[in-house]
Symmetry: C2
Subunit: 103 residues, 2 copies
Amino acid sequence: MEIDKALSALNNPVRRQILEWLKDRDNFPPALPEHAGLDGVCVGYIQEKAKLSQSTISAYMGLLRGAGLVISERHGQWTFYRRNETGIQEMLKNLSNELGPPC
Amino acid sequence: MEIDKALSALNNPVRRQILEWLKDRDNFPPALPEHAGLDGVCVGYIQEKAKLSQSTISAYMGLLRGAGLVISERHGQWTFYRRNETGIQEMLKNLSNELGPPC
DNA sequence: TTGAATTACAGCGATATATCGATATATTTC
DNA sequence: GAAATATATCGATATATCGCTGTAATTCAA
């Protein structure tokens, strides 16, 4: 986990907002029946909600994934993104360790 | 405390390094006798250690102050900077609240 | 296999950030 | 008051990021 990548990824209000939205699947339209068992959200739904272009959101999700903050899973033509809780926790911990009060 | 400003300020390895250095006054040359009672570090010392230009460091410290991560105190021609532990803690907490796991 | 849908990638102009040297401001000292 | 010192600000240039359009790649459906 590179703190540098994570901080870059987080240094954008929309990307942070997406991470919040992903806390609850109900922030997005219901999944299609054929995707019932999957807990991620497809790019299109995120794009709709963020009101930015598809390519921008795709790039955003790539950044978040590269930083270890989300996990992507491809199913057919869809890519489902979900929070990487472990990665997020690790990042928060690393940041706390680096910035936190002197021993 | 604006999380946006804080994340921008932290999105730079040298600025994060400075915050770490400021954890311990001993990371810098000793204070002049006339500054004995002050617990900050002057810009010149930080500049020396970071090996960037004076103007760059001055701007960096301005950013860190604007983000509430350091406190500055002017004494004569010197400006002494020290960590704002409260501000740093508050920022870490806000970030945790925003990014942390869903309730 | 052709077409439609979903996502990713390339390239672009606009804006922001990094970092510098030069200069301005304030303070101390002579 | 002039010179020296510490810091802040300004202007310039290089690089990075933003968010777009357009297009390629992949997969499903007809």
